[in-house]
């Protein structure tokens, strides 16, 4: 990977964080009238996608999908416009934050139903396989999703058919307010389960952009070379509430030492520790520019027109042939 690419990944990390922070600030004005599940704290997993994937590689995700969408380099404007539920959003306001799509850029959907996009990604992988397309499908989901039966069924199918699918579990230790320990046996590893199911599996730190870049890139190579699925379990942490724009640590469902540990391991902080001064100033400049870009997108979004009511009654069935 060359210097430029690395820099692009670092920028992407900031891009995701800054967009999410901007959303969290603007959300409180009640202009984005749909539930949002922000990725703040978990960006290092998605940041490398823009560089590591082509447009033809496919990503699907769940409710917490903003990072994956931005990370893959999808259309930022149309995304923000959609959060504002405006006519110019990618789905003209029908979708909102919980149903992201960008066909052109290979983002094939996210879903608010826990785990239910996992088999979709597997089907896309199957399509690629039998139609001899060698792109990879990435399927993102949380630790909570690994408790749904469809997760196991999907892994099994991908394993039997040797699909080019990369399963990525973002283990942030919580499903809404519920800690893993109430939902899964102590000390059990998700990556061990997938291994027992016949899927090559690794477990890694998801907050260090160097590690995520390396493991993702290795996994993609492995998949392409061996035509086999892989699962990566990344440990990470979400910094704001499960759904919505605010911190919710006053609710005390996560203990202080846990919070401290992860705050120290903020992916942005980790990044700033290892980059040199030149990069720092490049990133600084990037931030300024991107901030302006964001401001203008959000301003534009606010001013844009809403779709007409009648749009609600379009595209129920595809009657083209």
């Amino acid at each position: 990977m060359n210097k430029n690419q690395i820099l692009e990944i670092l920028k992407n990390l900031l891009r995701i964080r800054m967009t999410e922070l901007k959303i969290s600030v603007e959300y409180s004005k009640q202009k984005m009238r749909c539930p949002v599940h922000l990725s703040i704290g978990q960006e290092a997993i998605a940041a490398p996608l823009k560089v590591l994937l082509t447009k033809k590689d496919i990503v699907v995700s769940g409710h917490r999908a903003h990072a994956h969408y931005i990370g893959k380099g999808c259309n930022l404007e149309k995304f923000i416009f959609e959060l504002y539920l405006k006519e110019k959003g990618f789905s003209r306001g029908k979708a909102g934050s919980m149903h992201l799509f960008d066909k052109k850029n290979g983002f094939y959907g996210s879903s608010p139903i826990v785990a239910n996009s996992i088999p979709l990604g597997v089907g896309m992988g199957y399509y690629n396989k039998i139609n001899k397309i060698d792109n990879v499908v990435l399927i993102f989901f949380g630790d909570g999703a690994t408790e749904e039966g469809v997760f196991y069924e999907s892994l099994n199918f991908a394993a039997i058919h040797n699909l080019r699918v990369l399963f990525i579990c973002e283990n942030n230790f919580y499903s809404v307010y519920s800690n893993l320990k109430f939902r899964q046996p102590h000390n059990r590893k998700i990556s061990e389960i997938s291994k027992s199911l016949g899927i090559y599996s690794i477990k890694e730190n998801g907050n260090d952009i160097r590690i995520t870049t390396k493991t993702l890139s290795k996994a993609l190579n492995f998949i392409k070379k061996n035509s086999k699925p892989i699962l990566i379990e990344y440990s990470t942490f979400r910094f704001v509430e499960h759904c919505g724009p605010n911190k919710d640590d006053h609710l005390k469902y996560r203990n202080q030492s846990e919070l401290n540990y992860w705050m120290k391991n903020d992916p942005i902080k980790i990044m700033y520790k290892f980059i040199n001064n030149k990069d720092k100033s490049l990133l600084h400049k990037f931030k300024r520019n991107f901030n302006n870009e964001l401001n203008s997108i959000f301003l534009k979004a606010e001013k844009l027109k809403y779709p007409k009511e009648s749009v609600a009654y379009t595209n129920l069935y595809n009657e083209k042939s």
Binding site: Q30, M32, R33, C34, P35, V36, L85, K86, G89, R92, G93, K94, A95, G96, S97, M98, H99, S111, P112, I113, V114, A115, G144, A145, E147, E148, G149, S175, V176, Y177, S178, F182, R183, Q184, C243, G244, D248, L251, K252, Y253, Y306, P307, K308, E309, V311, A312, Y313, L316
Partner: protein, 351 residues
């Protein structure tokens, strides 16, 4: 008795039942988390322990089956889904097991479980957080399907459902949680009531349930001001369905409006109209009207949902049509629906 909110009524019913039957368990995603299912399960884990009141893994299907097995042992069960949409993962258990085990075992095994399904609306809930598929559940013989519309009937209906020995789908509309009202004390669980008469009149019959009952009551106020007197029938149970009162009413009024929180195609509202039509060929003096969600997935944005979810305005408009006269709607009432995507003024999302 003092006034309580709907979510408190649910909470009180759960507490009463947990006290009354030591075998009862209460579980579902979020039951013991800081939000406590929109405050409906507040303090219950503290009071009854984490074995009887507990949060679960994300495994709707197995956990439904788990509850059925628990019920077969003679224990009572309440399971909660924060959105009805999530329960679609568990339909094998509900339809293939819960609905049939009493029948197939010829009465040896009962399934005394209650499944609370919370229906979302507004604020960008969109296609997967706002489905109100009451008709889907009520199509299945062996399931009971009930829904409350205010704190008092919520309290009683939930207790009746819990102590009913059959699998009961308790459809609880999110937008009712903030309703306020008095509740009558309970001394002993009663059988599930099939309906409540809300008002009496000779001009028009309105049949409704859940949130649409609130909308019917709003409409009724306006209709009354316009000197129109309605029979309003709030259906507490849609399976089993007892339509005697509806038929009696339509015999009197000849005019029927049915209001449905769910899609209208193949729905409880179609069933009601069909049943009345099949009773006698001619008790309709005017053609009946169905008010329901459109046969579309719910769009997310507020400009799209504007007239998507039915409300009292639809009832007034339909009344105008069926009665063939103009009805004046006070301006302040029209103001009310401007913020059509939130349940009450200070609501700030997201769920």
């Amino acid at each position: 008795m003092r006034k309580v909110k709907f979510h408190q009524a649910i909470n009180m019913a759960l507490e009463y039942s947990l006290k009354r039957d030591k075998s009862m368990i209460l579980y579902g995603l979020g039951v013991s988390d800081p939000k406590e299912i929109f405050e409906t399960t507040i303090n219950l884990q503290k009071k009854f322990g984490s074995q009887r009141v507990f949060d679960t893994p994300n495994s709707e299907n197995a956990l439904t089956g788990m509850g059925i097995g628990y019920g077969m042992m003679g224990g009572r069960v309440v399971m909660t889904h924060q959105r009805l949409d999530f329960s679609l993962l568990s339909l094998d258990q509900l339809i293939n097991n819960a609905a049939k085990l009493f029948y197939t075992s010829d009465g040896k095994f009962s399934v005394p479980i209650t499944i609370r399904l919370i229906v979302g609306r507004g604020w960008g809930q969109g296609p997967n957080h706002s489905q109100a598929l009451q008709s889907l559940f009520a199509h299945i013989p062996g399931l009971k399907v009930v829904s409350p519309s205010n704190p008092n009937n919520a309290y009683h209906l939930l207790i009746s459902s819990i102590f009913d020995n059959n699998p009961t789908i308790f459809i609880e509309h999110r937008w009712l949680h903030n309703q306020e009202g008095r509740i009558d004390k309970i001394y002993k669980p009663k059988k599930i009531k099939s309906f409540e008469k809300i008002s009496t009149g000779r001009d028009l019959t309105i049949v409704c349930n859940s949130l649409m009952t609130i909308e019917s009551i709003k409409a009724n106020k306006i209709l009354k001001k316009n000197k129109i007197k309605c029979d309003i029938i709030n259906l507490l149970s849609i399976n089993p369905l007892n339509l005697n009162v509806v038929i009696k009413s339509v015999k009197k009024t000849g005019k029927l409006i049915v209001c449905d929180i769910d899609h209208g195609h193949i729905s409880i509202s179609s069933e009601i109209i069909s049943s009345v039509a099949s009773y006698r060929k001619n008790i309709f003096k005017k053609k009946p009207i169905k008010i329901s969600m459109p046969n579309y997935p719910t769009p997310t944005g507020p400009s799209l949902t504007k007239n998507f979810y039915p409300n009292f305005i639809n009832i007034i408009k339909s009344s105008e049509k069926i009665l063939n006269r103009n009805i004046k709607i006070p301006k302040n009432k029209l103001e009310e629906i401007k913020l059509h995507d939130i349940p009450f003024k200070n609501y700030t999302g997201p769920f």
